[in-house]
């Protein structure tokens, strides 16, 4: 179950990296949210999972309602992004399973994947909707990463991450990009 | 207070009378007259008092007095421990350049003269390095065999430099336009300090008695005569040989002396 959730998280992150349209971005965000919620439920508890679901869901919903009305998955010139999605996913998998030991490998994989891919998304030239979606996902992954520790971080971090994700997605995308 | 007044009186006497101004004037006057007789072939005396009433003469007289009281002349009222070869050397060095303050034209070949003065300074102060003393009579009294080479070499260098420092060499200042020989009061004031210092530094001190007095003045006079003779020879041979002597012989010789001082100090350490 956790492994599947982790895979879903990576899939969502990959979709965020590969897409430009609002539908795909929202779907990617939703996948990440669901994946992290499942992992949080297993690791921390229902409150944390709920917070993730609410925050991520709100962010996905906001994204679905604004931006160009298209899927925009893998537009032309996306080869590098495909490579990036794989290039981040595979080392993340290796590190979380082979280098790092102990239980919680799916969570580690999910957190590392989203951290890597969302950072890459922001660092490469992107449109504001994609950037803000990536940031919301990043906020969730930061909270999820706190669960890597042996001891539970408590639900507060997840709640704050959810608030951050909501806040980030509330930023209007118009007028954001510079001249 | 009495001691201070007594010291003031003693030093005043030394400065004014013996071995100060009066001695300087008598000895220097005689030596200068003799030199002009040898060099110019005529007796020249100060023609007017105005010739002597010059700030340069006054300044040199002051310096000469200060230098003269440093020599180990018998019956010198200045106590032996209060005499200092540096005072003598520096004050005598000052006398050479007083005229430069007036105009550079009155100093013949100032660069070369400066080199000669450095050589002379080495001859005066070089022998003081190893004994670590600056009392002139102590330096004169040094008879340690290891130090004798330095002392002898220094004495020789002193004598070599003397004609140039006293202006007995044939180099004349570029501004010198006088046809008539004149009595050089500045030089006259320097004869005794230079010659007396030589007698002090390179001969054992004379006793405070009449034979001692005669011995000291005998040596001093001999140095003056030697200087006059050397000056006369230089005059006869002309400007270029004199210049060559100082450039090519005296300066390298001074360097040798410096090396000798170093080696001696090192060996005696």
């Amino acid at each position: 179950m956790s492994a599947a959730a982790a895979f879903i998280v990576w899939l969502g992150a990959a979709l965020l990296v590969l897409s430009e349209g609002r539908r795909a971005l929202a779907l990617g965000m939703a996948l990440i949210t669901v994946g992290f919620a499942v992992l949080a439920l297993a690791g921390v508890g229902a409150l944390a999972a709920s917070a993730i679901l609410v925050g991520g869901g709100f962010a996905a919903g906001r994204r679905f309602r604004s931006g160009p009305d298209a899927w925009g998955v893998m537009p032309s010139g996306s080869t590098a992004r495909v490579v990036l999605a794989a290039a981040v996913g595979l080392p993340a998998l290796w590190i979380s399973t082979s280098v790092m030991t102990g239980p919680g490998a799916p969570l580690r994989f999910a957190a590392l994947s989203v951290l890597g891919l969302m950072t890459a998304r922001v660092l490469t030239p992107s449109e504001p909707p994609a950037v803000l979606t990536a940031l919301a996902a990043l906020a969730l992954s930061v909270a999820a990463a706190a669960g890597v520790a042996g001891t539970s971080p408590g639900p507060a971090v997840y709640v704050l991450a959810a608030i951050a994700a909501v806040g980030i997605s509330l930023i209007p995308v118009r007028e954001l990009d510079g001249a | 207070m009495t001691q201070i007044l007594s010291a003031l009186a003693t030093h005043s006497v030394a400065l004014v009378l013996y071995p100060g101004l009066l001695t300087i004037a008598i000895f220097g006057g005689a030596a200068e007259v003799a030199w002009t007789r040898v060099a110019k072939g005529q007796w020249v005396l100060p023609s007017t008092v105005k010739e002597l009433r010059s700030p340069v003469v006054a300044t040199v007289a002051l310096f000469a007095m200060l230098a003269a009281v440093q020599v180990a002349a018998p019956f010198n009222p200045v106590p032996s421990e209060e005499r200092n070869v540096i005072v003598a050397a520096m004050v005598l060095a000052f006398t050479v350049w007083v005229e430069l303050a007036l105009t550079v034209d009155l100093v013949p070949a100032p660069g070369l003269l400066l080199v000669i003065q450095f050589c002379w300074l080495l001859a005066v102060l070089g022998p003081a390095v190893q004994p670590e003393s600056l009392r002139p009579q102590v330096l004169g009294n040094v008879l340690v065999s290891a130090l004798l080479p330095v002392k002898v070499a220094s004495g020789f260098l002193y004598l070599l430099c003397l004609p140039a420092l006293l202006g007995l060499w044939p180099l004349t200042p570029p501004g010198e336009r006088r046809a008539r020989p004149r009595f050089d009061a500045v030089r006259a004031l320097c004869w005794f300090p230079y010659c007396g210092l030589f007698a002090t530094l390179f001969f054992t001190p004379s006793a405070d008695d009449v034979p001692g007095l005669l011995r000291f003045f005998g040596i001093t006079l001999a140095v003056a005569v030697l200087g006059i003779a050397a000056g006369a020879v230089m005059l006869r041979r002309g400007v270029e040989p004199a210049r060559g002597l100082y450039r090519r012989a005296v300066a390298p010789y001074a360097l040798l002396l410096l090396a000798l001082v170093l080696v001696t100090s090192f060996l005696m350490k």
Partner: protein, 570 residues
């Protein structure tokens, strides 16, 4: 007097500066009276604090927070250097006109310099000295930003180096308080740092340092203050180093090297001075020249040398007040000043230099050779002085800031003070010497003569009659009367057969020239002119480098991350 009064010599100029600033900001013209009074009262307090008891007074005010304590100490050294700083400062602040900004900065600089010498530890001295340097530089820049001033970087480096030395002393020895530093903590490297700081702080180099360059400024208000407050501080460090080393430097060879450097400094000065084109250029070299001799004397490492060095510094202090007040035209003030500075007998400089040279011979171990060299340099210095009398005046500074009579009086004091050398030595230098060299016996001689190991210099008995004789002699030759009438150099005007030097004297050739002396300047110019050849400019392109670093390129960031990770796991 309560020990809290130790703050007064620092606080009074500070208050005076603050008051001047307040009045200035209020639109009033505070003039020179306040800052002048502040400096004079500070000087008075210093005298009142020291002279009645003549023993160390301390004031502890607690830590400042960076390792230094605000602990003040007035001992012989602090008193001597306090005088060297305050006397010229007070004279200059009182006489020379300044704007309120300049007055404020000058007064603050005086306070900082006095704090530097009253501070009981290295770090407080570094802070205060650094402050004095900062203020001096700003003062100079305010007066004329285009005129030469000390390189700020060198001064900053000096005081930072001293701070570092203080830090090392605290780390190694547990304290940087002068009187408490363990002897073993003052190692050769630490001393080298300290000495380097001292040399940079006072510009003691064989080449033309800032103390000489300052005199070529169009105005000498700030220059005088900078020399008065900054120049003695480097020497102060070298003197205090004896205290930290229990009366000696860590290795005798260090003293020898520093003494040699002192002679080299004076030699460099003398060589430049004898080739000076104008009298102003020569006068600029006077203080650095004497500074070289002071360095030589202090570094010898004997009580006699130290005492002589301190007296030379006292001479420098008076000259620092005298030179800025000196008019550019020739005349008795100029003549007397040049004579006093060149060490003409029976002046204070003459006596001090004789004692200094005597100290080299008496120190043994080849030091006598340094003495021979020093004597030779003195002769050269004196030749330069004689030549300078007939030089053209050079660039003039405003007459309003010159005070010929005061300058002449100060020079006359220096010439007369030779007879009072034993008094100066006893009251000014020996207390400092006994403070930093407690294991050595002080100099004898009392108030009439200066006793070194082998000889006595009967300054009072010998120089007083000489002075009187000089007065009589010059009176007979009519120098005084002629000077008053002709207003030109006395030697030139007193009836010599040769024509006197005209008012605007023709240029005089240097006594000698040293080939290759300009080579370093040419090399520096060549280095300054050096540029990357056109064909290689695309390789070395600073702008492109800046763009790459500031561009925020993700690939570069990733590469640096990988590099860091590799570096720590290597």
């Amino acid at each position: 007097m309560p020990s809290l009064a130790l703050l007064a010599p620092v606080a009074l100029p500070l208050v005076a500066g603050g008051l001047t600033a307040a009045l200035g900001l209020a639109g009033l013209k505070p003039g020179r009276a306040i800052v002048g009074a502040g400096a004079w009262v500070a000087l008075l307090v210093l005298l009142l604090l020291w002279l009645p008891i003549r023993s160390t007074v301390e004031l502890t005010l607690g830590p400042l927070g960076f390792g230094a304590n605000l602990d003040l100490r007035l001992d012989g050294v602090a008193f001597a250097f306090g005088l060297v700083i305050l006397v010229p400062s007070a004279i200059l602040l009182t006489l020379q006109p300044r704007t309120w900004q300049e007055g404020t900065l000058a007064a603050l600089g005086v306070a900082a310099a006095v704090l530097a010498v009253e501070g009981s530890g290295v770090l407080l001295t570094a802070l205060a000295g650094g402050t004095a340097a900062t203020l001096a530089v700003i003062h100079l820049d305010i007066e004329d930003i285009r005129a030469p001033r000390p390189p700020w970087g060198a001064l900053l480096a000096a005081w930072l180096a001293l701070s570092w030395a203080g830090g090392i002393l605290q780390v190694v020895g547990g304290t940087a308080v002068y009187g408490a530093v363990p002897v073993s903590a003052l190692t050769v490297p630490v001393f080298a740092l300290l000495a380097g700081a001292a040399l940079m702080a006072s510009g003691l180099f064989p080449w033309r340092g800032w103390p000489a360059q300052l005199w070529s400024r169009p105005s000498l208000r700030a220059a005088g203050m900078a020399v008065a407050t900054l120049y003695p501080l480097g020497f102060y460090l070298l003197v205090r180093a004896y205290e930290m080393g229990d009366g000696q430097y860590p290795q005798p060879v260090i003293g020898i090297l520093l003494a040699c450097l002192g002679v080299l400094v004076s030699l460099g000065v003398a060589v430049r001075a004898q080739a000076a084109v104008t009298r102003r250029e020569y006068l600029g070299e006077v203080i650095p020249g004497l500074g070289g001799f002071a360095l030589m004397a202090i570094a010898i490492g004997t009580p006699v040398g130290l005492v002589a060095g301190l007296v030379v510094l006292a001479t420098i202090g008076v000259l620092a007040a005298c030179l800025p007040l000196l008019p550019d035209r020739a005349g008795p003030p100029t003549l007397l000043t040049i004579a006093a500075a060149a060490g003409v007998p029976p002046g204070l400089a003459f006596g001090a230099l004789v004692v200094a040279l005597a100290a080299t011979f008496e120190a043994g171990d080849f030091m006598g050779l340094i003495g021979v060299a020093g004597a030779a340099v003195w002769i050269l210095f004196m030749v330069a002085a004689a030549r300078a009398i007939g030089l053209p005046a050079g660039r003039g500074h405003p007459a309003i800031e010159t005070f010929p009579r005061v300058a002449m009086a100060l020079a006359a004091v220096l010439l007369i003070a030779g007879a009072a050398l034993p008094v100066v030595v006893t009251t000014f230098a020996i207390p400092a010497q006994t403070d930093v060299m407690p294991r050595f016996a002080g100099l004898g001689g009392g108030l009439t003569s200066v006793s070194t190991i082998q000889t006595d210099l009967p300054a009072l008995a010998l120089f007083t009659p000489l002075l009187l004789l000089g007065l009589i002699a010059y009176g007979i030759t009519g120098v005084f009367g002629t000077q008053r009438a002709a207003r030109r150099e006395p030697v030139a005007a007193a009836g010599e057969q040769k024509p006197a030097a005209p008012r605007s004297a023709p240029p005089r050739p240097p006594v000698f020239t040293i080939p290759g002396l300009d080579a370093p300047k040419h090399w520096l110019d060549a280095v300054r002119r050096a540029a990357v050849p056109e064909q290689y400019r695309s390789i070395v392109n600073p702008r492109a480098l800046e763009k790459a670093a500031a561009g925020g390129r993700p690939l570069l960031w990733l590469a640096t991350l990988v590099a860091l990770a590799y570096a720590v796991n290597r």
